[in-house]
Symmetry: C2
Subunit: 273 residues, 2 copies
Amino acid sequence: MKPLRSLINGRAEAQLSVTSRLHYGDGVFATVAIQDGQPLLWPEHGRRLAAGGERLGLDPVDAVTLQAEAEGLAADVGLAILKVVLVRGAGGRGYRPEAAPTDRILTLWPWPSASRFKEGAPVFWCETRLARQPLLAGIKHLNRLEQVLAQREFTDPYWEGLMRDTQDWVIEGTMTNLFVVERGVLTTPILDQAGVAGVMRERVVMRARELGLDVRFDRLTKDRVMTADEVFLCNSVIGTRPVLDLGCGSRRRGPITAMIEKVLRGGRDAVDL
Amino acid sequence: MKPLRSLINGRAEAQLSVTSRLHYGDGVFATVAIQDGQPLLWPEHGRRLAAGGERLGLDPVDAVTLQAEAEGLAADVGLAILKVVLVRGAGGRGYRPEAAPTDRILTLWPWPSASRFKEGAPVFWCETRLARQPLLAGIKHLNRLEQVLAQREFTDPYWEGLMRDTQDWVIEGTMTNLFVVERGVLTTPILDQAGVAGVMRERVVMRARELGLDVRFDRLTKDRVMTADEVFLCNSVIGTRPVLDLGCGSRRRGPITAMIEKVLRGGRDAVDL
């Protein structure tokens, strides 16, 4: 599969230099839903790209330029996915960064075909553990071998896999963030040692608090996830998705999950199909 | 700086597809010294690339093809550095691997100018810690953000930085493996939780044992490295290099380090300048 179009440092190209520091995964990225020509949650994606780049010490990217490029690529598109990658500018061979402007790689991809898991998905418990690395925790950087290895563990009928860290705390899905509902309280894992603090996770927290719900950040065990009243996953493409099977019998979409889904779609935080 | 030449899947090109799975750091690499048109320690590099690829589940690369490409690129070169990168073949967007042949990216780089540290180097203690991830420990994969962050910590006059893991065990340099000599015994860190098991490290162990030395694998504390009789670093480009300053006063190249250097150069394991 090829992207519909791509833009590298503002030019309509589909080729990267062989010297790109993608060779070290030296950058950050965002996956953005496009609806009716608009990148959803763009301010949040832009802020997160900038914050991740700052953590890694990338040369800052002009926010106006990046937004114009994102909007330009998405302009006449109904539904699509925009991937934005910022890579430290290339110098010579070797790990040491040299002063060079950050590369901007934008690609536009077809929206996935309708999922049979729209109403909820069976989810796998991955054995691949996330390493604990506070320096990289939270940011959506390009060192993603753990997620690749985890995705190799499961296949149909599982839609997603849940990952724990090397101390067995449940952190997230391979491509989603996790929420559990227990007696009306919403909890999502603390991501100070591992995991990606996704834009949709942040938005769910905000919308849930607007609804008057109690939202907490905590360390979650597998047992606690298994016995929660409701479990759902989220990211910028799917919005939210209920977890209907965690290997311990089937569940139904719960009332709080449904309430949050409705608010996100109504608020144009997530694609409303 | 640009490579002297490059070869992508056998073609003389300098551009990569924007869909490359370099976006996830999904592959392995090797840095090979070229002397008089010959890639040094090629069998060892080839084996390690294959073993690393197998750990990640890459589609196997034909060893004869890869060797021919490496030798072809190096054929008329006196001294140079060959970087060989194997990347999982691209599918669509997303972490999940699809069945696709592994991409081979070979680049040839100028040999670095003579180092003023040839006789030994001052070395920095990095604060950036290596995460403990047994699934990736030992292999030279492309997820190298930790090394990039560590290299940002130091500059001249330091030539290299030593890295510890998140449990404070000393693991390696950012681009080198570490050996200490204590009462005639050679020790290098165990790399089952973090670190890259470099080709030159393996060769040093072999040559030291041929010399009748006692070689051990162990967990090393910073204190133990600081108080060792001799400390040296190694990789495929430098061979070995004595550590002359670890922040606790200057040292001199020790007799065992000198003996190993001599054997490596004599055996064409390392470039003999």
